[in-house]
């Protein structure tokens, strides 16, 4: 077995009576873009801070190429980091901010100069070298922070919600920059965010945190298309959960009874269920169809409201059991169908729906 590049081993962090991180174990291959995703207080930032050396874990270990980082003080870990707030040095110019890590390493002037020029061109701020951070916009400051973090070619770059202080348009712009920079430098990135869309756009792999544990780890597609738990299904993308009673499961395909009494078979079962067990059926809003396809299940609903969202329409409908569900057909699909308020049937592929314990 080859040695993992960065390895987190049974990491645990306890604050008084509160356990922020419960024995998190994780291997990260070199060059991967891994995102810690989760709600606030889920332990994702605490895990990142343990890697950065800001907080000593209660137990467990962090290994970089087989060597423990824990006994190494922050300033000798050789890790790059971009923070939520920009944390540039306000008294130093953009160029001197980027040069800072090289200056404290006492690199020769010529090398510092060359590297600063390289980094500023990497983040496309060549013309801002002599400005002070206060004279830059938030997005520009965060790009300087990125350049500073990468200036000494750290093997790992940590990013702690770097885009949360920026507005939506800037966020998308910097996301594209981060993707490009990851591609061009090949640096291993650990990225913390609570924004699932950001995680899906950026990451090679996502570790979804919940209450100090990793709920599921995998590619964005894994988490979206094959959620391991209802928490994952609820956190990534939009989901409808319908109350259902489990009847039987034969070779991974379940048959259930919905609240309105209709039977649906061929559902993806996550785990094993008893006969008669209360369960929840998860269907993505965009998985609903307005016209029947072979093997589709159907649901009788009353359409309550329709809104136009550009590429998609959003339909709010109520099942005959009185539960509201969210349906998002593409606009072109909806255009060919009568979606005026009233009763109608909607359809879904049971293979793309998931059953979770209630």
């Amino acid at each position: 077995m080859t040695q993992p590049f960065l390895s987190i081993r049974k990491l645990r962090k306890v604050f008084g009576a509160f356990t922020a991180v419960h024995d998190v174990t994780l291997d990260i291959p070199k060059g991967q873009f891994l995102t810690f995703l989760g709600p606030s207080g889920s332990g994702k930032s605490t895990t990142l801070y343990a890697i950065a050396g800001f907080q000593d874990p209660t137990s467990g270990n962090v290994l970089l190429q087989g060597k423990s980082l824990l006994s190494v003080p922050s300033h000798k870990r050789n890790i790059g980091m971009v923070f939520q707030r920009y944390t540039l040095f306000p008294h130093l110019s953009v160029a001197e901010n980027v040069a800072f890590p090289l200056r404290v390493r006492r690199r020769p002037d010529a090398e510092v100069k060359r590297k600063v020029a390289d980094m500023l061109s990497l983040v496309r701020l060549e013309n801002f070298a002599e400005r002070l951070p206060a004279a830059l916009s938030g997005g520009q400051q965060q790009r300087v922070a990125l350049a500073r973090a990468l200036a000494y070619d750290p093997p790992i770059l940590l990013m702690d919600e770097p885009l949360s202080a920026l507005d939506k348009k800037l966020r998308e712009e910097i996301q594209a920059e981060i993707r490009r920079i990851h591609r061009e430098t090949g640096v291993t990135i650990l990225y913390v965010t609570h924004d699932q869309e950001e995680a899906l756009h950026l990451s090679d792999r996502i570790a979804l945190f919940r209450d100090g544990r990793i709920e599921q780890i995998g590619t964005g597609e894994d988490l979206y298309l094959r959620p391991a738990t209802d928490f994952v299904a609820g956190f990534i993308g939009n989901s409808n959960f319908l109350a259902a009673e489990h009847l039987e499961t034969v070779s991974g395909a379940s048959t259930i009874r919905l609240a309105d009494g209709s039977l649906v078979s061929g559902i993806n079962a996550n785990g094993s269920f008893e006969r008669g067990q209360k369960t929840r059926l998860m269907i993505r809003p965009e998985a609903f169809r307005l016209e029947r396809s072979p093997n589709n299940a159907e649901l009788s609903v009353e359409i309550v409201d329709i809104a136009f969202y550009g590429e998609r329409r959003r339909i709010v409908a109520r099942t005959s059991a009185g539960q509201e569900i969210d349906i998002r057909p593409t606009s072109s699909m909806a255009a060919t169908q009568d979606t005026s308020p009233g009763r109608r049937r909607v359809f879904f592929d049971p293979g793309g729906a998931f059953l979770f314990p209630a």
């Binding site: 950065a52 922050s74 923070f83 040095f89 306000p90 890590p101 404290v104 973090a149 000494y152």
Partner: protein, 286 residues
Amino acid sequence: MSVEAQQGIAAPRVPAGLSGLLPALILIGLFFVVPVLALLLRSVTDPAPGLQNYAALLGDGTYARVFFNTFLVAFVVTIVTVLVAFPVAWMLAIMPPALASILFGIIILSMWTNLLTRTYAWMVLLQRTGVINRALIGAGIIDQPLPLINNLTGVTIGMVYIMLPFMILPLVGTLRAIDPMTLRAAALCGASPLAAFRRILLPLSLPGIAAGGLMVFVMSLGYFVTPALLGGTSNMMLAEMIAQMIQSLLNWGLGSAAAFILLVVTMALYALQLRLVGARRAVGGA
């Protein structure tokens, strides 16, 4: 202070007429400008017109020694005050606000305590048979009592104690404005704690050090009570000399000249600081 607030102050507010300002102008003129001019006038006219008072002060070795002592003490007091105040201010800046406000209260309370009381307390502590000397002898660290009083050591100790709040308060303001994450960022950039202090924290706290330092230095130059009680006769400071000239020698001209020199030096220092740090920071704004 925010940029908007700065502009709010800088923006010219044109008064409807100067008449509204008149009471304030009269007050300032009567109580601030006229006395200084009278001081200047007396220094060049008493006992006879001419610059003989200044010549006497600047040409005489005894007076020169007093000036030297005064500047030496003010300089040393300022340096020691900065060194003691910085860690205290940093602690106050980063500790939980509730705890910090209690410590602030204690510091302010000491400022409100009568100056003479505090200085006499230092006499009790510092004298030959005082608490400090007896404790050190009792512990077997020294055989003979240390000369802690009636000299510049005593003056320095007493004055640093009096001046500390004037240094701590502006410094805490400056340090609080520094984002602690900036120091974490510096650490991850590879800066050792010492390098982070030297390259980041110290430059960022300079405005506070300069504001507090100027105040302490200027106050020390003209200080009377503490040098009079804790200092010795052989190393008099300027304020004591002025008091002596006017009270004992009744030489108002010489006393005025000495006071005027002190004023000019103080103003020169303030001007220097304005140039170095900028007017905005000299008044304590961050």
